[in-house]
């Protein structure tokens, strides 16, 4: 094959490449195509000159020329594609709103509830539930609140009959579980509860999460550790404060405060100047409760705690009126 022919092919290839690269629109690109591949184009001309080569060199040279033709063709197509894309981008207004699938929301109480329950499930607690319309026995008596006990005043109760109430807390779950199963137990009991009370900070229906752990040698130190994990997961690193309180079903009993998330302990309107906000009640399960459900309090000990989900949601989101949760105004619900 003549060196001359091959050099010319290679030269032509380079020229084509250099011609294609700077092209800015399809019209110019067409000109490049005509220049190289058109009927009077340079490559076409070169192909015609094949006839002047010696016969034995023609097939080799021919296939080289055809390969170059394919190569240039391909480069032209790729450039065209690129230019078309460029044009498309220029053609649409990407700032127009996209086509979205309308998004639903979970109620903020459901979200907080799932978060709290999720934390304890990760700690190895199992979930138990109980009836919302409950026997007085489970709601009060078995929790060491016999009839005519002043502690019943702490909870304004909705009655269905003498023996049946709307549960005023989720603590009956504790009794129902322990009645059926012996320790060790680690249980979390989420659910609705009811009290006849209605104002800026109370709704007649609300949500609680009850939790308890019964095992050998469970102590208040353990209660503190578990609740600290919960508080950290829920509120971030804010200090907790345990102070003595009273619940008929725990002894010792504690009220647990978290350092005010608004003022960080300095004292503000939200925490009534104390720097602390009450988030839950807790304590060591009272031996009387163990006796009632048939668990040996000499062998087993346990802690229990209960928290209001609304209160946690109020603090988390900075909501100032609890009634908003149950007005179900979509302008409210869509914020979460």
């Amino acid at each position: 094959m003549g060196e001359n022919f091959q050099d010319r092919l290679e030269g032509l290839g380079r020229e084509a490449q250099e011609a294609i690269l700077p092209v800015k629109d399809l019209k110019d690109l067409e000109e490049v195509r005509v220049r190289f591949l058109g009927r009077k184009g340079e490559l076409t001309g070169l192909l015609r000159s094949l006839a002047q080569l010696p016969v034995e060199e023609r097939p080799g040279a021919g296939s080289l020329a055809n390969a170059l033709k394919a190569e240039i063709s391909f480069a032209l197509d790729a450039a065209a594609e690129r230019l078309k894309n460029l044009r498309r981008v220029e053609a649409i207004d990407v700032s127009l709103p996209g086509r979205v699938v309308p998004l639903g929301r979970l109620h903020p109480i459901t979200q907080v509830m799932n978060e709290v329950v999720g934390t304890f499930v990760r700690l190895g607690f199992e979930v138990a539930e109980g009836p919302e319309v409950e026997l007085d026995y489970y709601n009060f008596e078995a929790l060491n609140m016999p009839a005519d006990h002043p502690a019943r005043d702490m909870q304004d109760t909705f009655y269905v009959s003498d023996r049946v109430v709307l549960r005023t807390h989720t603590s009956p779950i504790q009794v129902r579980v322990m009645e059926k199963r012996q320790p060790p137990l680690r249980v979390i009991g989420p659910g609705r509860a009811f009290r006849c009370d209605s104002d800026v900070s109370h709704t007649p229906m609300f949500h609680q999460v009850e939790g308890f752990m019964v095992d050998e040698d469970v102590s208040m130190a353990h209660l503190k550790a578990v609740l600290s994990v919960f508080a950290e997961e829920t509120f971030g690193a804010a200090p907790l404060r345990f102070r003595p309180s009273f619940f008929p079903f725990t002894e010792p009993s504690a009220e647990v405060d978290i350092q005010c998330t608004v003022c960080r302990g300095a004292g503000c309107r939200v925490c009534k100047g104390t720097g602390w906000m009450e988030i839950l009640g807790a304590g060591m399960i009272d031996p009387e409760v163990f006796r009632i459900v048939g668990v040996d309090s000499e062998r087993w000990s346990g802690f229990a705690f209960g928290m209001g989900i609304e209160r946690i949601a109020l603090l988390k989101y900075g909501i100032d009126d609890i009634r908003l949760f149950y007005e179900n105004d979509l302008r409210f619900l869509r914020q979460f």
Binding site: L96, P97, V101, L103, G104, R105, H107, I109, T110, N114, V121, G124, F125, E126, V127, E129, E132, V133, D148, H149, P150, A151, F158, Y159, V160, S161, R163, V164, L166, R186, R192, C196, S198, P204, M205, M213, D217, S219, M220, A221, H222, K224, A225, S228, F242, R243, P244, F246, E251, P252, E255, M284, D286, S301, Y326, N328, D329, L330, L333, R334
Partner: protein, 805 residues
Amino acid sequence: MNVLLSWLKDYVATDASPRQLADLLTMRGLEVESLRPAYGYLEQVVVGQIKEVRPLPDSGRLRLCRVAADQERWVVCGAPNAEVGQLVPLAMPGARLPGGRQIELARVGGELSEGMLCSEMDLGLGDDSAGLMTLPPTAEVGRRLDQALGLEDWVLEVAVTPNRPDCLSMIGIAREVGAACGQKVRYPNVRPRERRPLTAEMVSVFVERPDLCPRYTARIVRNTIPGPSPAWMQARLRAAGMRPINNLVDVTNYVLLEYGQPLHAFDYALLAGNRLIVRAATAGERITTLDGVARELNEEALLICDAARPVALAGIMGGGGSEVNPSTHDVVIESALFDRVNIRRTSKRLGLSTESSYRFERGVDPIGMRTALDRAAQLMADLAGGEIAEGAIDCYAKPVEQGAVKLRLSRANALMGLQLSGTQVAAYLRALEMEVQPAGKETFFVRAPSFRMDISREADLIEEIARSHGYGRISAASPRVAVSAAPTSPERSLREAVRGRFMSQGLTEVINYSFISGSAADRLGLAADDPRRSGVNLLNPLSEDQAVMRTSLVPGLIETARRNVFQGTADLRLFEVGRIFLARQGHDLPLERLAAGGLLAGYRTAQGWHGVPEPVDFYDVKGVVETLFSALRIGGVEYAPDAEEPFLVPGESARLLAGGRRLGFCGRMLEEFLEAYGLKGAVYLFELDLDEMLPLLPCQVRFQPLPRYPAALRDVAFMVAEDVPYRRIVESIEALGLKELEDVRLFDVYRGKPLEPGYKSMALSVSFRSPEKTLDESEVNALLASVINACEQKLGAVLRSACQG
């Protein structure tokens, strides 16, 4: 319990600041809910200087004073000692004085009076009411009076838990402060000076029911002179939230606050027969209590009676006609101990809760009550000039014995997670006035003082130790537990899955109250025998709208829709997941079923540039539940026409059936029912019984091999009569049992020319596939022919076209 700081300091020495004291009490379990300045009521009272005094014609001794304060004010004044240059307290308009008097701009004797010049008594600062209070010359004109006089005191509002009735008293609070600060309590020096005659000669007491009145003590103070009590006592009572009445009544209230022992004072002269009888009421017996209300009693109520009639409702309130009054000479003071439950029951039944009943139902000190009696007698003698008769009545048949409680140090430490020594523990308990007897190295016998009725078990003592040591000093320690996989609940998983599926379809979750209006069933037009009429009624609902436990989620959803439409949100996609309650014969508790409901209204998509918004219709609501079933892999759900719900449009609703179970309904709400809620337009609802769906959930998903040969698609269009539902076409095709039939999908429904009225065209895409080979043209045509034939034969369908899909 409102605790006035200066009063508290009568009983315990402390240098703690009010804030520190509040924190200290809170951290011992006596939560201080608020801390406020005791002289806050003087906020609108300032130091004024009289600049000019003018007589007011024809108005007796009234004069008009020009007073310099924050500005010059003209004030009408009746005090005889008003003089130019004098510094006096000026209550400005807006001030509220201790007696409850509100100062306003007023016209007196024809002149505008811009406030009031006050005496000591007006301000609760002293007993002098004769003339204006004279302020020291150093008082700065215009300054707040409390600041000018350096008055500072605080009121701590303490929330006392039901187990600590001993802390419903100043002394009780002082004991806690003392224990915390290592100070002994300074009890009042109670030594009544008695004089003949003997109390027992003047009055006799007979307790008929010692079970309901374990102890009854009484004293008599003779020759009292009723009148206002001294300013300091009035101020203390007011700070505690009580209204001063006269020195006799005030003493009983003062001692109630001091010792926590409720007392009652009778006028001796008004007691018939000089005797008191403690007995149960007879059913229907009546007593008019001090508040003037005639109350009918049952046989459970306990009465204090004289020889003729009931004179007090024991432990709750005195009776009218026997109480001390401005002309009382001789006073009988009662200090008694009544049965807690009995007092509580009567108080609840009568809806009458008093400072007295509140304490009795929580428990009073069976020993301290005797001291409180002596204290009251002594104060009456001191303040009302009386003489105390010799001796006291004391009916105490069976003295209360408080046993010793065994305490194991190891147990206490184990429960708290602490390592306290025996010495430490004993010191904590002794500081609370407990007797601690060591018995061996690690055991103690502990006897609580009589006022600590909440201590009867080891656990109670452990709480005292933990409280004294401070909960804050217990370090957190991670429990060591055996690993175990907590079981999961299918019900809970389903509930969460359902929530997620609805949310992903653009529905927003709402949570409605579990109770609804008693008229909700009527508003939905439910039949008389509809089980949803067997709701659980509340005996004490907050309102008629929250009187019955819901038997369906529909009323709550519609109510939510109404509220949102009212707020201007008309495009609604809502759902709720929650329990419904169905009463059951022969069961105390209702059946609680987990339900999921939803509501769609308005436009499917928001107004936007992509296209014209379209209103939601039946197929939106059906699509929501279809998508749910598909996501949960519940197959074979049948949508039977007419939900048979009185509140739904029969022709635009469906019953949802699967595996012989009724899963729920979906459909359009009848407009006449919407009107009852003030709504109009098209509202679509669904409600599902999740408990019914639980058994339908597949437990395991099995892999299906991917097809190896291509499917052949054919589109066919039939003309069928209007009354032929799509479901029947599918059923007719499926009935052929063609194993190559893969899928039938409806892609168009058409009505109008050239079709006759009463007919519609349904265009289907049918796909055939064999797992063994590629179907050839003739095989596909044969399959399609049998499909066409089935529709023609069974449904009278007329083929309009058939082509390759």
